[in-house]
Amino acid sequence: MKRNTNWLLAAVLLIGGLCMAGSAAAQVTLEVMNPRGEIPPPKTLGISPRGGNLDGKKIVLIDNGKYGASNFLDALADMLKQKYPTATIVMYPKPAAQTITDLPKWYPTVKQQGDLFVFGVGD
């Protein structure tokens, strides 16, 4: 009986092995090409140094023109004036519908308006 069992086990292993060998032989490898383009990395910049507090600072609030941003920034201006009475609030909205090529000319003008900026609300 034990001998028969061994034969049976051997047969199962043999058949199993053959099946595995068969499936290994039938394996298919596809070589495919990457569809993505290389991206030249931009120069990475740090952000501007900061410290201290908002007392006496000139804070520029930039409305990006999206609906409701003016309400958000108006409420923010109220709170800034209340909590930092010596700070000056400058509302400096982003010009309407600037073209992409125009924006680089506009952004440097923000710096002339004050010490710090808050931009919102992006979507």
Partner: protein
Amino acid sequence: MPGVYFTTTEFLDDAMSAAKDRGMPGIRTLALPADKYYVARANKQEVRPIVEAFFDKMVAALTRPLTAEEAHPDQARKQVESANIKVTGKDLLDASEKVNDLFLDNHWADGLPIVPPTPELVKAMEAGTTRSPKEVLGQVAPKNGTATVEKIAINSVMAGAKPEYFPVILAAMEGFLDKHYDLTHVVASTGSFTPVVIVDGPIAKELNFNSGIGMLGHGWRANSTVGRALQLSLLNLGQTWPQVNFMGLTGRLEAYTFYTFAEDTAKSPWEPYNVSQGFQAGDNTVTVSSSGNPVIFGGGAVAPWTAQGVIDQVVTQIRNRGVVWPHAQKHILVLHPDCAVELANHGYTRRSLQEYLYEQTRVPYEKLAKEVSFGQGTEEEFIRASIADGRIRPDRAQIFLDNLKPGGRIPVVQSPDDFHIVVAGGSPGYDLLFTYPGTNWAHQTKKVSGATLTKAGH
């Protein structure tokens, strides 16, 4: 200048992606809760609790000293894309399925099955053009991936395009990459704008583009796979993905194939559309534009219509939109052949129809909006600013200036040329109006060239 940037939770990934793309990944950003902000922003009182909740965080972001990483971030390294990839399966179907899973997991596919882009298939695709695989067509927004002929070929294989179509795909990509096509807006905006792709010339018939009944539908390999090749090329070369940096809120209605069709020059009573764009009759061209959801006019097979009635409906539709970014607006009116022939029988040429539309859609000065969308001030102020900075061309400016007064009628576009009239559709058919409400130009026509497998397009 120290600053802080407010966005919302739904747009935080998009904001950080854009900051990284522009070389300032450390910009301090605060994300308002989207589910609360978009409802509360309607008035100052309702939005105040959100301001209060974020006030201290904003102050901290404006004043907290920089970390070393914020002050001196590591320089971004070139994103090295893997070379060819080997995928093994128990059989061809299994391997193909694994390729599909891999590509979708990597955000390299669109959700429908792709054809695995093997080097052999890509080489066959490249054989459709005389152009070198290494030729660079440009950088694709928003991440500025480099578009080579080879990379576009890979995406075209994935889309199921035939090599014969490849020169058309390349010409369309040249249109998208033109500096006067605002690709960033088209591929990223919340507006879910869809490119419009119009093939003109003998190559359209040779490649069996559909320009008749069902021209925007399924069943024509050229329409479907040329559009899909462009979609995949933009997705993979510009590297956009929904909810990350493609923020189209509904997604595009023609997400997989764009609005891709051919003009029916044989049934048109007028010269081919591309001739109106300065090309020669017989030239093969692709026009790429962009649109919100198109508006359908006419009666089709179920209701009577008149050609003049269709045009009147088009005029009403456009005039009711008002003056929206007149410096950049363009309208593509696709007339089905019967309607175009009827208009021609009534004496309209393409040019006279353009002029009619230009005149009839002008908006009374008194109806100019008091507030411009996405901006500040009145519509009149916006138009005057557009004249001052040259967006409205000097040769058209006087027409606007003369009409910015009571009793004046303001054009909705710069000139009659901004009404693009194309003939396509069935018999019976409907008429379509494609309008792109973007603030920049997004319309280009490019000549097909370099074809090796077709009689046309060499």
